[in-house]
Symmetry: C2
Subunit: 177 residues, 2 copies
Amino acid sequence: MQHAMSMFRSIPQLAKMLNNLSAWLDKAVADGEARGYDPAVLLNSRLAPNQYPLTRQIQAACDAAKFAAARASGKQPPAHPDTETTLDELRTRLRSVVEYLGTFKPEDFEGAEDNTVVLPFLPGKGIKAHEYLTAMAVPNFYFHCVTAYAILRHNGVDVGKRDYIGSLELFDLEAAN
Amino acid sequence: MQHAMSMFRSIPQLAKMLNNLSAWLDKAVADGEARGYDPAVLLNSRLAPNQYPLTRQIQAACDAAKFAAARASGKQPPAHPDTETTLDELRTRLRSVVEYLGTFKPEDFEGAEDNTVVLPFLPGKGIKAHEYLTAMAVPNFYFHCVTAYAILRHNGVDVGKRDYIGSLELFDLEAAN
């Protein structure tokens, strides 16, 4: 059960980051109001002409989180057809994936550690669930979160490291002694 | 020991990402040769005027990895004074941290799961080692890796998702049956 708990712990962290991402979008809206632009223009902003714009980065972060939880525990995730074109629709997508992640429990990962994960883009190949989570799903998830953050930051939105990391479970050192 | 193995598994992944980062720098050098510019100009490139340039992102990625391993296992990491000013010096720094990470073994994390980690920038507060690793050290590490990648990509260096993810432990599905 220890391995199950260790794998499970990634899942609320993915959900927290998606909630953080939603809060970065709130800051983008506030920046648009403060500087007099329509924040929707950020949705098609990108860091390089051959890299995805903000909308697709957010969709990809959502998918990375959804597939991380589903594949590592051997479940079938809900479909999301990538039809979002507004900030509100992206927030709804983020909420939908956060809710899906909230349905997972530590016991969903019981014995999943060495399960074989099969990926549609790697035909004929398998990867163990723990390797999939640590070396592919989590790095890919952070890739799209940080790129979304970077697109906002590059355009002057006032996001910082605290917005990125979000809340932490801290405790008072004296109380612990 | 299962928890120890689960915590330990993050460490070779951090080392792999630092090696990936070093390979992105090789691509930056190749891009400079192909397009006729000194790749050293990338070291001071940044995505926003109030965000760190490439050199500092790489130093921060190195520190995030070093502190993740050291603090989560209750060790004292080696000091790195952030004096690098060239690509070669940054590569040396990356190698140094990869070597340090290579000294860790699963047993270094035995019973470390619920240890109290104390952070210099959070006086009077503690955080459990597993929460520190999952919710702070790993996201912070990827933050600086992806931002370094984004600075290169934004400047036209030909890095892609495969360069980012790097090698994976895949196996042949038929051979596994």
